[in-house]
Symmetry: D2
Subunit: 165 residues, 4 copies
Amino acid sequence: MHTSPRPAPELAVSEWLNTDTPLTLAGLRGQVVVIEAFQMLCPGCVAHGLPQAQRVQTAFGRDLVVLGLHTVFEHHAAMTPVALAAFLHEYRITFPVAVDTAVAGDGIPETMRRYRLRGTPSLLLVDRAGRLRANAFGQIDDLSLGATLARLIDEPVPTSKETEA
Amino acid sequence: MHTSPRPAPELAVSEWLNTDTPLTLAGLRGQVVVIEAFQMLCPGCVAHGLPQAQRVQTAFGRDLVVLGLHTVFEHHAAMTPVALAAFLHEYRITFPVAVDTAVAGDGIPETMRRYRLRGTPSLLLVDRAGRLRANAFGQIDDLSLGATLARLIDEPVPTSKETEA
Amino acid sequence: MHTSPRPAPELAVSEWLNTDTPLTLAGLRGQVVVIEAFQMLCPGCVAHGLPQAQRVQTAFGRDLVVLGLHTVFEHHAAMTPVALAAFLHEYRITFPVAVDTAVAGDGIPETMRRYRLRGTPSLLLVDRAGRLRANAFGQIDDLSLGATLARLIDEPVPTSKETEA
Amino acid sequence: MHTSPRPAPELAVSEWLNTDTPLTLAGLRGQVVVIEAFQMLCPGCVAHGLPQAQRVQTAFGRDLVVLGLHTVFEHHAAMTPVALAAFLHEYRITFPVAVDTAVAGDGIPETMRRYRLRGTPSLLLVDRAGRLRANAFGQIDDLSLGATLARLIDEPVPTSKETEA
């Protein structure tokens, strides 16, 4: 038996950096979207997750869309949007980064909850039809990721009718 | 315009290590074949090429065939088959390795000539139809290689008629 | 000709982390002091300077004192003490860290000015007599640093009279 | 209680590479000597031991003497002097390298026996008085090694009388 992949939940974003125009998964339908969920003070994100996202951007260029998602679930007072902006500048991160919307009375932000992320870094892959095809916590090797991305890129662009569901 | 890829020249092999049965590209027709051309005393091969070939073997398992090709074109007295066997043992290289056939009166061995290799390490990719799809000298990044391999793996197995040419 | 090393200027500190007791160079007289001047959002500090300071602490244990100095000269709104505390926690930095005192109307903090630091990371070495023996910007190799530290450690502890100057 | 370090056994050498003049520890008396015992097909030697010996040569220049010692105790047919010469050329190793003298009927060469080496890589440190001050198997961190070397370098050159014993 085989479960068909569920639709990727929409991003809940309180603020965007590195883009003038707010983005939505709905608006990116038809494209492969790579989302690097990270926290700026997470050593594994700085050492592995974010450099890999930058390598994906370099290797696959216009064939997909790379987004960062700042899912702050600890040290909230430290990882503010102004601190994040400085971080992105210093680490030369140029892809659009969404600040995951904080939830009043809860440390876990909204998008992180929707995707049930286990922590950071997490890599989310959304296919051209807007379905969540991978939700991977921790380190992923580049060879396997490259293979997965090629296959997602090579899938046909769905007709508008198919993506409406 | 588009040139169709040429058939991969057959390997000229004087000796095999890590396999009881000699292999040929003809006999591997139908499978994707990854050939790491190296010399055991080439620092770039030891640091980059061979570890990448081992990662390919780990990541893609039975979906393709990884071969080493020992293309000795310098220090011939040093890089003998007995030295190669010790090298493979020490570096825990388990895929089959072919010793490229020496050519009398020429430092460049036969398979290296057939493929016009520029040096070592070189990575050769042969598709299911036996055509040479990549001949890359130097370092290749894992993301791009993973993508290329996935696409070769996903190509249909040719019917026996197609592969006879 | 040879200039004798100048006394290391006292640290100007607005806040200490990782220590209950504020420290001063005067109070540490008699000991070799290694000061890693850094900013938490400086990639070179995270990748090289701070790990080296941690290795120094591990390798030389009680033979010297390792201190961090958070010399914020850019992105002031991002690199606050609360953010620094989270950073130290996440990166498992356990040596005492001083927050360099901000100077009203100037982006460069007070200790950074006193030492005329060129940027971060910078490594400052203070000998048992309280004299500044090295002020190095950028990466320093571990072999040379180990040699320098051994020589500073092996210098005799000055009598109280000598250190008063 | 404290054992005084024993005299470093003389090297038993069948052949030298990277030097026109054969060397002896007796002839190097008065200098600090760093001996990297290795095998050319030992992955730990290639990845760690030999690069560290090269860094020592770079960092300490004329303050000490770096020697390689090729202690072949396995794969004897592979690690011949001609293969070693090719290896040294390819890996850009420029310090003098001694081939440890083979012992008839025993796989362990003579110098390796005299020093009771546990394997490769091993680092041997000989002080100005010709005494063996370290015999370390495996990886050693650069900070500690730099400290040890500085202290050996800073020891007084013994008078000829002292070194005769």
